[in-house]
Symmetry: C2
Subunit: 636 residues, 2 copies
Amino acid sequence: MLASLEPWLHPVLIVLALLAIGFAILNFGAVKRILIGRPMRTRELYAQHTKLLWYVALPVLAADLYSSVAYGPEAGMTELAGLGDSAKWLILPITAATVSLLVILITSYIMGIMAYPDGGGAYAIAKDNFRRPWASLVAASALLVDYVLTVAVSVSAGIQAVSSAYPQVIPYETTLSILCILIILLVNLRGVAESASIFAWPTILFMISMMTLIFAGFVNEAHHGFHQAVTPPLGVLPAGLTLLLALKAFSSASSALTGIETISNSVPVFREPHQKNAIKAYIGLGVITGITLLGFAWHLYVQGISVNPNNTMLSQLAGLYFGHGVVYQVIIWSTFIVLILAANSTFTGFPQLAALVAADGFLPRALTIRGDRLGYSNGMLVLAALASLLIEVFHAETNALIPLYAIGVFLSFTVAQAGLVRRWLRLRQGIWPVKLAINAVGAGVTALVAIIFAVTKFTDGAWIVIVVLPLLVALSAAVHRHYEQIGRELAIDLAEERPETHSVISIVLVSGVHRVVLNTLSFAQSIHTNVIAVYVGFDEESIERMKKQWEAWGSPCKLYTLKSEYRSLLRPLSLFIGTLERIEGGPDRVHVIVPQFIPRRWWHNALHNQTALLIRLWLMRNRDVVVTTVPYHLHQ
Amino acid sequence: MLASLEPWLHPVLIVLALLAIGFAILNFGAVKRILIGRPMRTRELYAQHTKLLWYVALPVLAADLYSSVAYGPEAGMTELAGLGDSAKWLILPITAATVSLLVILITSYIMGIMAYPDGGGAYAIAKDNFRRPWASLVAASALLVDYVLTVAVSVSAGIQAVSSAYPQVIPYETTLSILCILIILLVNLRGVAESASIFAWPTILFMISMMTLIFAGFVNEAHHGFHQAVTPPLGVLPAGLTLLLALKAFSSASSALTGIETISNSVPVFREPHQKNAIKAYIGLGVITGITLLGFAWHLYVQGISVNPNNTMLSQLAGLYFGHGVVYQVIIWSTFIVLILAANSTFTGFPQLAALVAADGFLPRALTIRGDRLGYSNGMLVLAALASLLIEVFHAETNALIPLYAIGVFLSFTVAQAGLVRRWLRLRQGIWPVKLAINAVGAGVTALVAIIFAVTKFTDGAWIVIVVLPLLVALSAAVHRHYEQIGRELAIDLAEERPETHSVISIVLVSGVHRVVLNTLSFAQSIHTNVIAVYVGFDEESIERMKKQWEAWGSPCKLYTLKSEYRSLLRPLSLFIGTLERIEGGPDRVHVIVPQFIPRRWWHNALHNQTALLIRLWLMRNRDVVVTTVPYHLHQ
């Protein structure tokens, strides 16, 4: 089935799938209940989860950062692939630089935890320390963009891990990646917070796999030496290596550090004392990640592994040590699962941040609404749609997505660190000069990395992010202005302004004399206003026929007939209303009553002109009239 | 720009283009006026066109049939291309068979004109002669399907003619074909009936081109002999030729006869005597088409022209005789224009037939509505969308579309001829046995061709049509049943059933105390019903706050507060309404009044939860309550 799919069908399928899901969710209670589960009461939100020990929380929160080792080093080496074998040894200094950055970041984040024990994301820190909102908006926009990219990159890398083991999957990488996103979306719409600690196991398995791989590497090297036949020469600068290229490779490799902020956002899930335990987890995770990166890079160097778009370096190395047996399969599948978990955790982060920003009035309020299962379902839908779009556009190629990635992360790191710097300068308590120094270094380094990213990857796709970010910030500011203006406009003086009674004329639109009109007139006569009926005819005969029928019916109220030369109801009706409004001593308020057919099955609507709907929409937008719809539920 | 387009972007572009057009037409009066022109009065429809002399009407109505010679013979030879050069001579017997069919069809249609001087399409003839509607529905469905295919095939063949001369166009055939359809759609939405006789000139030019080509062929053969070095041997049955293959080739070639019904649908445009002049035009067109087919096929045989998907046979022959200079260009471009005209004429035929069938209650009534320019614009939109879809799916390959084509034409021919047979049997006037014989032969032959088409092309795509046709017929029947049932349900007894007054309770939904609520309450208190206010809160605090504010405002009416544990307005509101309806001695009618924000710019709607809209939609479908929307037009 998949084999016969034309490539242009993919986006059509995505759109259809998303529409089907959206439609199912909106329309069919039963489907919704099966897919999403029973609706949950608001108070269920506050049922507290059990607090986690730091060594349990560590793997639970590690997927985001630790999974990045599966693509980070490879992304760095991809930049240097054009220089040939003599550039392979550069993986060592690049990884060393990445690990140094890791140390700086973790130290800075520990400062953040000490300052904000309730967990402060970059947005909260920036909001707390900068008076003007633009800093927090930059942080929020950067994070939102990068959350989308995290999903796209992690899922693509996960599918690429699988297709390294099963090359027959390669043609379907895009389709499968999008399918993964849809499944993650569904799981998150259901809500999975109850079972968070089961997320520890795949990450632990992946950590053990990586450690086994590194151990196997050393065993191999103990037998065959640290310099083997395939090991590239060390220390010779390859021809063609420029500073720009080296920086590009370093910035790509530092995508291995994305996800480092997760622990600092989740301080409250740790057992008391929160902060101390979170710091322990940070140090533990930093040590494990650092060892993994260095060990992995070392073996890649010794074995002289090359970049191959159809076989990841991790898969090549594992194949070399273990063949393609059980151990290899465990490594591949644990890589896949941990990358999917990283994408999954983003489905909590993105909607929460979007809701936070929306609650401050900088994004549409719809993002603050909790769905049936208490998650911010609108934010999840937006995230899934945007990530699917990115995957489709970049054909699920991890290395094509990397240039867009990480700018946002490092930009938001910078804003958060700068916020902390301002905080220490303001509070000046305890060992503030040390904290200040750490965060100032952190801010400087992350700003530098963000700039390196933006400059070196500009033409590779980073320009997209550099264009999107200011647009997002400007849009947020515009949204906020709009909400503020409306708030002012709607405020009333409780003591002075009270409801007043107006004189109302009710116009009943009639299309003939039949049961729907009968039903509508009955309602109109029940509300005790001045009622008139209006008939719009397209030709003289139909108008005459209507007049006769009305008389035969005993003229329940005065009938006005209007002729429409242009076969549109709106124009004559609008002119008629205008005339009524201008009459001296006429009504204060015009009230249009429209009969509406409700067919028994929704698809029967296609068979009935949606006149009532169109009239209502048009009148609402273009005239200040009240519109009442009187339903008539068809039995057929 | 086009060169960098990914193939999967094509359908996206189509959808975007159609959406943009639809949106422009619906939303922006100014754009609509520019694209479509001023709206026209209904009476302008009846301003009679000048009647045409038969030799003027002939080219005006010829585009449909005559343009088919550009692809018919080639479609036949494509089936035999696999047999090699020794099959090339078969173009002669196949074309001879096609021309015999042409003679039979024209004779039969002349009978039709004599019976229905006002112009009788297959649908009208079937409706008049078969008591049960299924025959006319078969004819109508077959014609509608084939109208869609006419557009797809003609436009594809037109673009293929151009890409034969300009091979650089080949990669963009699909995109350009769809662009052509959109342009034809726009032209037809504007309406072009005023200038119909200018359509004669391109067809005349194309006829002259074809005649020149045939003449040039004979000049060439006068110089180089009727049997040239490239002429394939005559009369040897090629190895691998089966009866099935021969029938396939014949049925494909007979796609050259599609469009033959146009004159019989347009008898009233001829000068008096209508019928006599229409018959003259039929005979004239038949002679010209027959000569063209035979002459063209003869030269193709003599020159041993092969089928080449990137260079039409017509283009090859023209290039052979005239090089690639001015004459060649005239032939290519007149072919293109006449094929586009054939597609264009379908934009009159399809919507008219759809409107006729819809007026009889077999298709949605929206198809009977005349647009601003008096054309049936809904039908035109449907036709353009379906034809674009076909072109996209079949990549604008004429020969891939041919197997779907012509079944419908020959099926509707059969129904029409069979209808005439019944008519002669019923009336038994004048030379009825002769007429009967002619139409019986016509019915038999066209039925045979339709069956040959269906059987031989079944696996090539004809099955699609064979599946779609019965579905369309069944759908039409279901639509008719629906309309009939509703008509019965809505009928009332004028003498007995009159409007009655009910007791009404009006529920005003309030979300706080602000200007929108003030505005809404003012209206509610003006219609003199029992008014209560309802507030739905998600938690206790918001409910308490609302109660206090209401009191501070002097309680304009009784306020009920409902708590929603599931963060949905609908559930508690629905329960509340249910309770009201069940109260002993309670109101007869529940009336819900919803305030609605109308932002100044439509895209501001994204910033406001469309609560009013959702409530209205849900209540309308699920409960028998009247819903009133009181607009508040924001100044911001």
